[in-house]
Amino acid sequence: MKKAGRRKGKVVIPGFGITMGITVSMLSILILIPLASVMAYSFKMSPFEFVKLITKPGVVNAFATSIGCAFVAAVINAVFGVMIAWVLVRYDFFGKRFIDGIIELPFALPTAVAGITLTKMYSDNGFLGKALERIGIKAAYTKIGIIIAMVFIGIPFVVRAIQPVLEKLPKSCEEAGLMLGASRAVIFRKIIFPEIMPPLLTGFGLALARGIGEYGSVIYISGNSEKNKTQVVSYIIMQKLNSGNVDYEGAAAIALILLIISFIMLFAINIVQHVASKRTSA
């Protein structure tokens, strides 16, 4: 008791000081300092230059392409991600563990490898590209190609967000719906969907954010044509750093906009989740 008296004011669970210290340092080194430097660089421009740069048609088009394609890809991922998670949680079939294992492949694979492989598959002489060509769809070097790449890298976010929630969902909730005379469709819409809505939003948001900033897997299949509007934002940034006279400020300015978009999205997701969780807990 004496000891407790002396240690008054300390947190009960030991190790708070050191872990908190490491956490703050890590956050600073890995996230805050780089972010601050992005801002610092971009603020070297005058506001006028800044606006002029980011309203250039090429830059605006790149943002439109990145955001538009990422959004479509995230929607596709939301739909198929729910299905994949559902199948993996609810049914037992041969090879289930294998499929479950390769869900993370897009995370593990170097994005350049994914990009080159996808390009090969969907180009005019790749086997998927040929098949699509026959029904009049050109995938490689178009926005469709960009979307395909973004679907590929975004799918794990949705599946992995929903899976644990579906696993935890008691079967009796669905059975209660059945006993009250509801059809399968109504049970899914009214009982299961509200449960997976918050994680689905998280998965959707993460897939969207990842898609908007994606570089490695997209640049090969996109073709990066200014004329066809298949340049993505990351490509523009890279271009500014690659060309003869390196334009740090310009790259940083565009990066800043990306950063702001990411923050807004994270913020929005958090608000939606907060509201959703408020509905169920006292």
């Binding site: 008691p170 009796s172 909730c173 059975e175 209660a176 719906g177 059945l178 006993m179 009250l180 005379g181 509801a182 059809s183 109504v186 009214k190 009982i191 509200p194 449960e195 509905r279 169920t280 807990s281 006292a282």
Partner: protein, 355 residues
Amino acid sequence: MYVEMKGICKKFGNYEAAKNISFDIEKGKLVALLGPSGSGKTTILRILAGLETQDEGDVIIEGKVINDIPASKRGIGFVFQNYALFRYMTVYDNIAFGLKVQKMSKEKVHERVMEMISLIGLCGLEKRYPDQLSGGQRQRVAFARAIAPNPQLLLLDEPFAAIDAKVRKELRSWLKEMIRKVGITSIFVTHDQEEAVEVADDIIIINEGNLEQMGTPSEIYKHPETPFVANFIGTSIVLSDLSGFKGFEEIEKGKKVIVRPEFVEAFKSDNKKFHDLIPAAEEGVIEKIEFRGSYLEVTLKVGDVRLVTNRSLERRSISVGEKMYVLLHRIYVFDEGTAQRYKNSLLKDVDIELM
């Protein structure tokens, strides 16, 4: 008969969870499915509901075989053990769910939901979410949700299991009253015999997938048909050797004998009321006295045998080590699955029930 189960068998892999279960239930009855954990009660209830498919046998409601009718079309209300309320719906929407599914008009839904909410005494809480309710309140909502669409049969799986002992007693009588009020045929699962005896009109006793006995609580108590039932209902002591007990000389050694506290009378040697019965009694010593609230549970040692009796608090006080006369006036003897009641042969002319 309103609800009938005929020769229901169900296997999970190699495990037989229900073995040739048959019973029927009259309209309007409140029936308990009673048995130890893992005996197959839930399985039987779920087969009746259509949530599980039997391997053999028929489920019949109002004379119609409903084996092939899916759960959602059976029109049976079901209260789940964990209530299974819809977390993302308010109390109102939970209760309205089954009504909306039937495409009932909005006004009618509102009317019925409000009627249900006042029936379960939760007026003013209709906008709450399940997480904002107490366990007892949740159970009431689950009950209201199940009966709102006016099912003809209500099934409840351990409706009181998740509630603490004190509230459970209240809810028990509440539920019984509600079911009476609504007049719905109901079957509930429990492993608590006190609960079954208190609430149910009829009890079905299940053990290891077998139906052991069905009857009113007093029938089951007074005339157990199997050793399992005799042992499971009431507090019993199982003995295998009664030789040496006066009045039971005819019982063969090795037969399974069950003695209940009510079958044992212990009295002091100067007790005038029991004086004439001393020749039929044994001498014993009090080994343990436990206070049970409204009576004492007294353990006596008679020879090598321990017997338990309940003693009214109104009677004279006793103490551990005290010598008393112990009269065993009745026993159950089981022989190859049949139960027989034996009376102490020295008490042939005494009416024990009047003692």
